[in-house]
Symmetry: C2
Subunit: 567 residues, 2 copies
Amino acid sequence: MNVYRIDVSGRTVKKEKLPQSYRLLGARGLVSSIIAAEVDPTCDPLGPKNKLVFGTGLFAGTSVSSSSRTSVGTKSPLTGGIKESSAGGPAGLYLGKLGIKAIIIEGAPQDDQWHYLKIDKDGAALLPAGELAGLGCYDACKKLQKKYGNKCSIFVIGQAGEHKMFAANIAATDKEGVPTRQFGRGGVGAVMGAKKIKAVVIDGADVGYVQPLDKEAVKNASKKFAQGLLKNPVSGNALPKYGTAVLVNIINNVGALPTRNFSAGTFEEVNQISGEAMTELQTKRGGKVGHACTPGCVIRCSNIYLDKDGNEITGGFEYESICLLGSNLGIGNLDDIAHLNRLCDDYGLDTIEVGAAIGIAMEAGILLFGSFAAAKEAIHSIARGDVLGRVLGQGAKVTGQVFGINRIPVVKGQAMAAYDPRGIKGMGAIYAVTPMGADHTAGPSCTTFIKAKPEEQVSLAKEYHIKATALDNTGLCRFCSYSVFNDPDTLHALLELIKGYYNIEITTDDFWNWGKKILHIELDFNKKAGFTVEANRIPEFMHTEELRPNEVVFDIPNEELDNILKF
Amino acid sequence: MNVYRIDVSGRTVKKEKLPQSYRLLGARGLVSSIIAAEVDPTCDPLGPKNKLVFGTGLFAGTSVSSSSRTSVGTKSPLTGGIKESSAGGPAGLYLGKLGIKAIIIEGAPQDDQWHYLKIDKDGAALLPAGELAGLGCYDACKKLQKKYGNKCSIFVIGQAGEHKMFAANIAATDKEGVPTRQFGRGGVGAVMGAKKIKAVVIDGADVGYVQPLDKEAVKNASKKFAQGLLKNPVSGNALPKYGTAVLVNIINNVGALPTRNFSAGTFEEVNQISGEAMTELQTKRGGKVGHACTPGCVIRCSNIYLDKDGNEITGGFEYESICLLGSNLGIGNLDDIAHLNRLCDDYGLDTIEVGAAIGIAMEAGILLFGSFAAAKEAIHSIARGDVLGRVLGQGAKVTGQVFGINRIPVVKGQAMAAYDPRGIKGMGAIYAVTPMGADHTAGPSCTTFIKAKPEEQVSLAKEYHIKATALDNTGLCRFCSYSVFNDPDTLHALLELIKGYYNIEITTDDFWNWGKKILHIELDFNKKAGFTVEANRIPEFMHTEELRPNEVVFDIPNEELDNILKF
């Protein structure tokens, strides 16, 4: 396996062998290890010493279901700590086929010229971006696909990344070539913008799959693994049927649905924005729910969302976006929220961070709660780089500071996803302790916490914080966790796949211990960057301000939070 | 000695006895000790758990020269750490005469009503601020003086403090009753705003001086102390003759005068904004240089600055303001800078923080370098609370983040004063290590560093970081340091004064050790707030970007910085 190292200072592209010691590292484990090894934890995240690393999972380039997610790693300009963010789409599959394990982008541009990276079976080249600069992700992808064909996969930043905004994401194309999949969190798009790399084009669709060492064993294990995913009621039924939006009603029912800048946990128009409503509407309009973002994924949690005239508005329209751009802004019309989602995807913005920021601006009275027009105009202003847009584009924390609002729902400067910690305490514990800032994917699913008793929240957070990190090392989609965490047969099939591809036999304990190892690397980076336990705290207002309607506060003691990281 | 404790939650005012253990604590030592004892270091600085403490010096209420400075202490919303900021004017004198050692403002307002605190010989009362709310400091003072007479002294916040902006200061009136003296740094005005206290009126001019235990000894010591100040060429000649603006030429000559957002260390129009130019101009116009901000001060570093028609523009017009609002913005007209200074004083803004923020906005192209009109309009926008004003009002760091500028001259989030650390390395060391954020008053005078060799910078920083803190415990003006630090007779007179007023004999070592003790209290607070050594760093760009014209970088190694705090 190879690594491409791109130094933007001299515009050099080098191909290196992946060090043997990195062989069993994938996705999050791989990018966090490279960042920890190569980046000064105290550096300016947007300066020359930071790097941006794309890394594929252990089964990239194979036909294992849900296995081709790619991670991006960097020092986050939003949190100031280490950051891994992951996205679906076929890019990981193609990189795997091409034998590329990682892409490391480093150095500082010496002039104002934008470039893009083109990777195919003949090698990699840094090319002038020309008229791509200034374009949104949709248009940039169309231009690149016109040149390189529809089958290539693309990582791309929009205007927000070009502006080096802390809420800027990196988009990845789905299997239809549309930039609906997102490396969403932590301002990773700003780092790509600081390197003046507009896009990475990966042309590998026609290359053959990676072949296992033991074909027969892998064939069986792969089948069993997929069956495990399909047997699980969440990954096999709820997600393909409703997408992640299935959570809207569930989270509203427990009173943890962020509403009007986290001032309430239920939303009066919830029925209009639920997964059930979306499926009904899209079935009628001919849209698609139960869409796979990447070839071969059996879970198919994604969607293609059409307007009433049958035109595509957006895709990969997730629960988090529906809540942060919907209930959190007091907006209860699904088409309106879909439009906002499309704008964020086009401009290259994290819907969670931007939704939280706009919610704060609405609380400050700068924009009107419930106004789709105001929210739309606000997102346009981010892309234009107006003063208001500049503020919102830096995310929730900066927006709260600028407008003097103290209800700022962030941890380590990163906005919370769509679960109010007062309503789902264990999720709050995960937000608090993960090295990533408030990240809902760093532990078990929210439903694990919802089903558990209050006294089980912390121990579940501790156990699954480690297990989720182990799973993140595989590059498997986190929705495999429903089955991998709960069905020994699926976990066994996964260990068989590792054996079949890597000729190494590991135990269940070995597998989970990957999580500990990776977390220690990440926590150590953050410690060197200046983080202490005080960074692992839920904001003060959530400890004192009762969340309507259940009138609950976040009450897990700090000592118990600290205990989660003792392993 | 007594303490007033004001709880804004229930609007209660309590008079308490000063604990005996606090007897030898004054000013910075006093307020830092109270904050450390009573405030949770992890609290939201603008929330109910933070407190705002005014504290007087050891000789408050006496006729000792330059001894009536007052400190304010709080957890800073700007830095997130402990903060002491001090101001001149006669308030400390009056509080001392009234037997008030400290005023502690705590709790959270339960409604939107503004109040002010009135203190006189009969007690203290919290009164509705009525039409004072929304006024600038100048008008608010005029209204209060109309009611209470011209002899009362006032602490007041302007629009910036009401908006809870991180660059908001608290103004203190000078001996003419004009709000030209500033508790400038760290957003202390925002904390006063969060408590909804518009002003503190101190009516104590007609109360008698505090009498020493040994009158004769104190009379002699006081005379010797004043003679020491007058004998020193800086406090006895340069400061009364030119004010602090004497530094403009000195700092420009060494190439450390922040110019156009710290992109150069010399300014081509320096001759128009120097102390020499100011004295010449004001002598011609009938203004006053060599003005005492408080009765009995022999140093008289302040001034009253008139326009060409003889109307007062501003007063207390300092070197830091001239540079940050002048050369740092490319503005070379002293009248223009004086107008900006007046606006900042009126709106209740730290000229250093705002000057640094506007410099960054100019670098970002939002405003034009060199444009007085643009700078003026920017400061107006802060008072109005426009979006741009909201950004600038949060200070340099937030402004830099919002506009994507990485040349942000801050330490711990606080803007650097008017000495570029690349040009005066020891000052950089002080900026880095003081618990206060980049603060030029936390060590020796800049000239001490300028005269010393490169290899002496760190040891001087270490020695005088402690000594300056010890001096800060007395409530004496920092300009006493020229003589106290260098003339054993003046130091001896100071120890005699302590003996005469407190009946305690302390050695020189005892005196300097106060500095260590206070610093340990402050550093411990910051540690508990989540600070590590990584907070004690000069920004990356100053390590890599050479400062014109001398082409120097800041090159004191981090390990040497850390060593300064080992005592």
